[in-house]
Structures are given as structure tokens and as C-alpha cells.
């Protein structure tokens, strides 16, 4: 089942308690202050006071719990060797995906690198398609041919899923270019990490975005480690929001979903009128860089558990919900149990799906194959005509 939308129409098969929780949740506005002020570069920062609603906060909670559970389940699947190759997990960073979705529409585009599972979910992707893709089954969002790093959902403005660090930034500026060219009145968010922030092509693309006033929003998800290298060892200036020089920037507490929402809303308004802007989300990943990295050789366990205790995005929203009396502890625990069940069911369903048919080896090489021949490893044994 996909994430909750901002409408009140929910699936009738939702269990009663949770349905009641969200259907009866009101959309009347609440104003909440962000935990930290925004730090701005070459621009006046937005207000710390964020407009939200009970419904939105409850959906934030549910959706982040869902993302968290999906990533933890993926960890187990990887250790069980059902997921192969690379698997980069997003747990700890959920607030960035959730806050961003709350501020934008599906006409806006998002493009990211390889830590893309939760962003895919945020754009409306389903759990089953995500797990099936991770396990290389034909029901996956890329029919099993992409894998963890290549999730796409073009109809919802999600352009992947890219394995080459930094490449997604010029691509994202290209999306913004096309939006402006087509006069679509929408913006593109291109996500990258503190590691990618030093890439030359970022500055090449940013220069052109600024020259041509493209509606491009560069979002640096600064989790402070580029693989095993801490930001202070990789960047002479780790103030990534200032690295755009002539391009304005904003530093945001990336563990606060409401701050993320406010910043993205602000950035969208800015980009549509004035061109590119950089958002630096101060966030953290609990897992290592990928499943091959324990994540503890270059940082202490105390640091990880400290962040979990003090800055965890899910806990922050839970506390807000309790503080504003929007739900009880038990109701939230029930939501978590329900989410867990949903994830387990999705995994079971994905496990039943078959691998892609061998003929799929040769499909989608081209859109228009022109009837040319393609070859397998032994060309006298395996040839196909591309449709």
C-alpha cells in the first residue's frame, strides 16, 4: 500500500483503529516552531513557524515509520542474500523525503542518487514494487532489471535512482530546464550527499542553472560521511549551503520534517521566480554507506546512538503528536504494528513473484530496436532480434 496522501480518502481495508485515527484527524491548522532556526546564505530565511495540521503530523508519523520499517526489513533481506549487489539504506534520513513531499506536487520532479528507496515510496511507489525490485523479480518497479539503485516512477515525477555520484545534478538541472522550456510552472529537486557536493559537474550545472534562471533546487543531504570519509576530511569548506557562492542557500535541520517542509516550500517559491537555490539538510544515516559497510569503523557507536536518542525524526514527530494530544501512545504503537504487518505482507508477496523471463535480457535496449540483432555470451547460441 502506498503512503498516505493529503486527502481524506483512504482505503476501506485499513484496520479500524488507524483508519479512525487518520480519517477523523482534522486538517485545521496548527502552527509549530522548527527546532532550530534556518541559517541563510545570500537570502532572507523563511519563518521558523510552520503551518501544519493534525492530519499532516499523523501522516508524517505513519509514513516515516513505514519508510523506517522498509529499510530495516531490507537489511534483513540483504543478510538473507535475497537482495544482491548494492543496498544503500535511508533510515535516519526519512524526514527529508517526507518533509519534501509535503511541500510539493507530483508535477515537481525529484531526482536522487542511489539512496532512493524511501524517495520512491514518497513519490507514490508501492512496497511490493520496491521489494520486488530489490529482489530482482519481474514485479519490481524496473521489472527487476534495475536493482536497488535504479528505482524510477516517471508518472509521479521521480527520475531515479542513479549510480554515478554527482551525475544526478546536471540531470536534475536538465529536468528544470525542460520544465521552464515547457512552461510547466514546476520545479526540480536534485538530491545529493556531502560526498557528491565536491563534484565538478555540480558547479558546471549550477552555473548554467543560475545563468538561465532554471527552477532548480539542489538539496544536499548532508549525513556527514561520504562513504567512509567524514566531511571535514573531504571538503575544505563543509558549509555546503554556501558553496553556490552567487546562488542563495539555506541550512536546514534535516531531522525535523516540518523544517524540511518549510524550506522546500520556500525554495520552490524562490526557484520559480529567481532561479536556483541550495538547501543543505543536516541529517544522519544510521546504517553504513551500504550493506557492505558496517558504518562503525569511521564513527563511534556513541555518536550513532546519541543521534538516535536526541534527533531521531520519527521520535520528534511522536513527541509532537503527544504534546498536541493528537493521538495516544497506544494508537501510535498500533500504527507501528500495522505498518510492520504491511511490510511483512509486501515482502511475502514480492517473494512469490518470479524472476524476469530470460527473453527480458534483450528488451528495452532501445525504444525502437529496428529489428537489429543482439547477442548473448555465445553469439552462435544466443541471439535475439530487438523489437
Amino acid at each position: 500500500m502506498a503512503l498516505t496522501r493529503r486527502s481524506l480518502h483512504l482505503h476501506l481495508i485499513r484496520p479500524i483503529f488507524s483508519a479512525r485515527l487518520l480519517t477523523t484527524a482534522s486538517t485545521s491548522p496548527i502552527s509549530i516552531e522548527t527546532s532550530l532556526p534556518f541559517t541563510a546564505h545570500n537570502i532572507d530565511p523563511p519563518s521558523r513557524s510552520v503551518q501544519t495540521s493534525p492530519h499532516e503530523l499523523l501522516s508524517f508519523f505513519r509514513d516515516m515509520v513505514l519508510m523506517r520499517r522498509m529499510e530495516i526489513a531490507s537489511d534483513s533481506l540483504y543478510k538473507a542474500k535475497l537482495i544482491r549487489g548494492f543496498c544503500h539504506l535511508y533510515d535516519g534520513q526519512e524526514a527529508v523525503a517526507i518533509g519534501m513531499e509535503a511541500a510539493i506536487t507530483r508535477k515537481d520532479c525529484i531526482i536522487t542518487a542511489y539512496r532512493d528507496h524511501c524517495l520512491y515510496l514518497g513519490r507514490g511507489g508501492t512496497l511490493v514494487e520496491a521489494f520486488a525490485e530489490l529482489m530482482g523479480r519481474n514485479g519490481g518497479c524496473s521489472k527487476g532489471k534495475g536493482g536497488s539503485m535504479h528505482f524510477y516512477k516517471k508518472d509521479a515525477g521521480f527520475y531515479g535512482g542513479h549510480g554515478i555520484v554527482g551525475a544526478q545534478i546536471p540531470l536534475g538541472c536538465g529536468l528544470a530546464f525542460a520544465q521552464k522550456y515547457s512552461k510547466d510552472d514546476s520545479v526540480s529537486f536534485m538530491m545529493y550527499g556531502d560526498g557528491a557536493a565536491n563534484q565538478g559537474q555540480l558547479f558546471e550545472a549550477l552555473n548554467m542553472a543560475a545563468l538561465w534562471d532554471l527552477p532548480a533546487i539542489l538539496v544536499c543531504e548532508n549525513n556527514h560521511y561520504g562513504m567512509g570519509t567524514a566531511e571535514w576530511r573531504a571538503a575544505k569548506s563543509p558549509a555546503y549551503f554556501k558553496r553556490g557562492d552567487y546562488v542563495p542557500g539555506l541550512k536546514v535541520d534535516g531531522m525535523d520534517a516540518l523544517a524540511v517542509k518549510q524550506a522546500c516550500k520556500f525554495a520552490k517559491e524562490h526557484a520559480l521566480k529567481n532561479g536556483p537555490i541550495i538547501l543543505e539538510m543536516d541529517t544522519y544515516r544510521y546504517h553504513g554507506h551500504s550493506m557492505s559497510d558496517p558504518g562503525s569503523t569511521y564513527r563511534t557507536r556513541d555518536e550513532i546512538s546519541g543521534i538516535r536518542q536526541e534527533r531521531d525524526p520519527v521520535e520528534r514527530v511522536r513527541k509532537l503528536i503527544l504534546a498536541h494530544d493528537l493521538a495516544t501512545e497506544k494508537e501510535m504503537k498500533d500504527t507501528e504494528k500495522e505498518v510492520r504487518k504491511e511490510v511483512d505482507e509486501a515482502i511475502a508477496k514480492a517473494k512469490e513473484m518470479p524472476s524476469p523471463d530470460p527473453s527480458e535480457l534483450f528488451t528495452n535496449v532501445y525504444v525502437k530496436g529496428l529489428g537489429v540483432e543482439a547477442f548473448g555470451a555465445d553469439r552462435k547460441e544466443l541471439r535475439a532480434v530487438l523489437p
Binding site: 520532479c109 532489471k145 516517471k154 546536471p170 515547457s182 528495452n364 532501445y366 543482439a374
Partner: protein, 449 residues
């Protein structure tokens, strides 16, 4: 290893050279060589009516030739619909049909006997495709206000404005990536590299962002982009500005790689590339830009398009197949003329498309001639010729009467000094020599026979 007995031994004893008819109607004259700017239709128009059976040609097939021409022109005229229109207006029933056709064909002749430079061919193709589809835009260095580093995009900025003709900063990785992103969204970018040597700065976007996306996304993200620009050696530009990238790009699944030679190729293939929904690498040649080729009315029509993946037999022959692409096609044709004088009939194939490679046409030709010489400007190792030779060995082994031969650029970075540069690229005599070797005609072998 037992060598298969030659299928047909071609006995050429220095007999009179047979003039060759090219499939577009050009004929090589006794003067030798086929000049690219001349064409039989032009000469015919100036000297005598091409329909006159007493056409003065030093060909034993004079009358056959004129009859051939007649039907060529008739076909051309009809393609324009001229025939039907004229007949309708003037009432063909009042004339003898043949007479009517002669008049119409000669009108078609006068309007179709045109020469066009490759530069103009590319420019007109870009212009027409931009006019036909508002999603097409051009981006690159100096494509706008400078009118194009090689003037290929001349006039486009004035016509289509700065939103569709974009001058990019000297940042290939950046603007190639922006182009690919725009293609993801659904636009149809034409990205110009000032030369393909600079494409190496952007090659990650060409291969990883463009070529592979449709496959990785299982059809969700298609990339209808064209990367174009001059490829290969120019004159005296040195090692970093002279490499041919056909083999590198041709290796990559998901890309289409085109190499036009003539103006007809340039127009037809560029239009096909822009209309194609897949990423296309379009390798032009700087030294061909100024060369003029005859173009028929069909080629000039804005709907003209050539199929991707199909080679063209530029010259039919029966003794040896010579494959070439881009500038080397001209060299191969010259070599063919020289060989003809020595009684060797060479079939010259203009590949037009490196990927998909027209293996069927190449193999069919080799099965006819039993000998193969591949010609390319680029480096020999893992080159286009290597792939062609492998394909022919795999699919037509029993048909070969001689070892396959490869002519390529030298296995060195391109030197600057003119004499060394000349040694670093194929020359016509290299192609002739290799062809003779396949016919067991080289002087070195003769001594041991």
C-alpha cells in the same frame, strides 16, 4: 590449417577498365576518380539532353546509360508528385505519354540537379526538424551568436530564438547532463560537441545517463537525444584533437551511432537521428563540411529520412568488398577507381551506421566478392574494422578467398608534422595495396608464387 579452395578466381589480365555506375546515377569517367561535386545529371543537363540516346559518354553502354537515366529521373520526378501534377494540368492525353514524360522529367531534372555542401545539409536538416517539432532544441558551445564553430547552426538563433538555441559555457559534463535530463522529461535535445574529443568530458552522461536508462528503467525513461559534432582527424590539429570515437561509442548497447559521408547521408541521417526515440551519437567530419555532393529533390524534401542501421553500396563490384565510413568513403571510392584501371572491381560500402552495424549487407557483399578490406580513420585495436572482420569470419568464413584486411589510423597519437600526420591516417594507396593483397596481386607475393 586447411584453407578452403578459392570459390572463384578472378582472372584480370590488365584488360580495359570497365566504367562503373554508382547507384545514384553517377558514373566514373576515364579521367579517373569520381569528383564529388560533379554528377552525370549536371553534365547531362549542360551538354545535351540526358534523354538523348546519343549521349556522348566514353562508355560502351551509352544507350543503356541514357535509358537508365531516363528512368532514374522519371522515378525522381514521380517521387515529387510532379508527374501527376503536370499530367493533371496539361492533360497528358493530348500528348504522347512518352513525350509528356520527357518534358516533365527534364523539368524535374532542372530542379533536382542540385549540389549541396555537407554543412548546408546538416544546417537544413536541423532547421527543418526544429521547425517541425517545438520540442527540438540545440545546445552547445558557440552554436548561437557565433553561428556555430563550424557554422553548422548558422541562422538558427535568429530563426528560433535563444530559448531553443543555447550557447553553453565550456562545460561539457554539465551541458551534456542537462541535455540528458531534458530528454528524460520529454524534450528532444541536439547537443553539439565542438569536436568529439571533448565528449570524453561528458562520456559518463552519454553512456551511463543516456544509453543505459531505458534498459535500467525497463522502458520508463527513454532518452531521445542526439549528440553531434565533428569526429576524427582534421588537419594539423595534433594528438588531443584528432581521435575517432566511432569504435568506443559503437561498443555500447543502448546507443545508436551514425557516420554520414555525403550530403544525402548528412540530411537523411540527422533527421532520422532527431526523430529517433533513442540516444544517437552523430559523428560528422570537419573536412567533409565544405564538400559538395549532388542531392536529388527527394533528398531536399523536408520529409526525407534515411533508415538507421542500413549501409549503402556506393559502388557495386565483384572482386573485393571495401567497407568505410565518413571521410574514408571518399578515399575508398578513389581507391576503387584506381583498382578498376587495374582490372579489380571493388564494391565500396558506405556503412552510414556503426551501431547498429549492417552486418547483413557486409556479409552479403563479402559472400559475393569473397574478399574484404575494412577502412577506418581511428585506432586499429578494437576498432570498427576489427568488429567487421570478426562478423565476416563468424558468418561468412567459407566464402573468404583471402585473409581479411584492415586499414586504419596508425597506432600512435596523432603527430603534428605534416609528413608524419600523413603517415598516421589511411591514404588511398593504402587501400589500393590492401585490396590488391586480397587479390593476390601485390608485388611482394608475386615473387613467391
Amino acid at each position: 590449417m586447411h584453407r578452403a579452395a578459392p570459390r572463384q578466381r578472378q582472372e584480370h589480365n590488365g584488360e580495359q577498365a570497365v566504367p562503373h555506375r554508382y547507384t545514384d546515377g553517377r558514373v566514373s569517367t576515364q579521367r579517373g576518380g569520381c569528383s564529388n561535386s560533379g554528377s552525370i545529371t549536371e553534365e547531362g543537363m549542360h551538354k545535351s539532353s540526358p534523354l538523348n540516346p546519343t549521349l556522348k559518354r566514353s562508355s560502351p553502354n551509352g544507350s543503356t546509360l541514357s535509358r537508365f537515366l531516363f528512368w532514374e529521373l522519371y522515378r525522381e520526378a514521380d517521387m515529387l508528385g510532379v508527374l501527376r501534377r503536370e499530367v493533371a494540368c496539361q492533360g497528358a492525353h493530348a500528348w504522347g505519354l512518352e513525350q509528356g514524360l520527357r518534358v516533365i522529367a527534364s523539368r524535374a531534372l532542372s530542379s533536382s540537379a542540385k549540389a549541396m555542401t555537407v554543412r548546408d545539409a546538416l544546417n537544413s536538416a536541423l532547421d527543418e526538424e526544429m521547425s517541425a517539432d517545438p520540442k527540438v532544441f540545440v545546445m552547445g558551445e558557440e552554436v548561437g551568436e557565433y553561428q556555430g564553430a563550424y557554422k553548422i547552426t548558422k541562422g538558427l538563433l535568429d530563426k528560433y530564438g535563444p530559448e531553443r538555441v543555447l550557447d553553453a559555457p565550456i562545460t561539457e559534463a554539465g551541458f551534456a547532463g542537462i541535455g540528458v535530463g531534458a530528454a528524460y522529461y520529454g524534450l528532444r535535445p541536439v547537443i553539439e560537441f565542438m569536436t568529439f574529443n571533448f565528449s570524453m568530458q561528458a562520456i559518463d552522461h552519454i553512456i551511463n545517463s543516456a544509453a543505459k536508462s531505458n534498459y535500467m528503467s525497463s522502458g520508463q525513461i527513454s532518452v531521445p537525444i542526439v549528440f553531434r559534432g565533428p569526429d576524427g582527424a582534421a588537419a594539423g590539429v595534433g594528438a588531443q584533437h584528432s581521435q575517432c570515437y566511432a569504435a568506443w561509442f559503437g561498443a555500447c548497447p543502448g546507443l545508436k551511432v551514425l557516420t554520414p559521408y555525403s550530403s544525402e547521408d548528412a540530411r537523411g541521417l540527422l533527421k532520422a537521428a532527431i526523430r529517433d526515440p533513442d540516444p544517437v551519437v552523430f559523428l560528422e567530419n570537419e573536412l567533409l563540411y565544405g564538400e559538395s555532393f549532388p542531392v536529388s529533390a527527394e533528398v531536399l524534401d523536408s520529409s526525407f529520412c534515411l533508415p538507421i542501421g542500413k549501409a549503402k553500396i556506393e559502388r557495386e563490384g565483384k572482386d573485393v568488398t571495401i567497407t568505410a565510413f565518413s571521410k574514408m568513403v571518399g578515399y575508398a571510392l578513389q581507391a576503387g577507381d584506381i583498382l578498376a584501371k587495374e582490372g579489380i572491381s571493388a564494391e565500396v560500402i558506405n556503412l552510414r551506421s556503426i551501431r547498429p552495424l549492417d552486418r547483413a549487407a557486409i556479409n552479403a557483399s563479402v559472400r559475393k566478392t569473397n574478399r574484404l578490406v575494412t577502412v577506418e580513420e581511428g585506432f586499429p585495436q578494437h576498432g570498427v574494422g576489427a568488429e567487421i572482420c570478426a562478423s565476416v569470419l563468424e558468418d561468412s568464413f567459407e566464402y573468404l578467398d583471402a585473409a581479411v584486411e584492415r586499414i586504419s589510423g596508425a597506432d600512435v597519437p596523432m603527430p603534428y608534422a605534416a609528413n608524419l600526420e600523413r603517415m598516421a591516417v589511411p591514404q588511398v594507396e593504402d587501400i589500393v595495396r590492401a585490396a590488391k593483397r586480397t587479390c593476390y596481386r601485390s608485388t611482394a607475393l608475386a615473387a613467391t608464387a
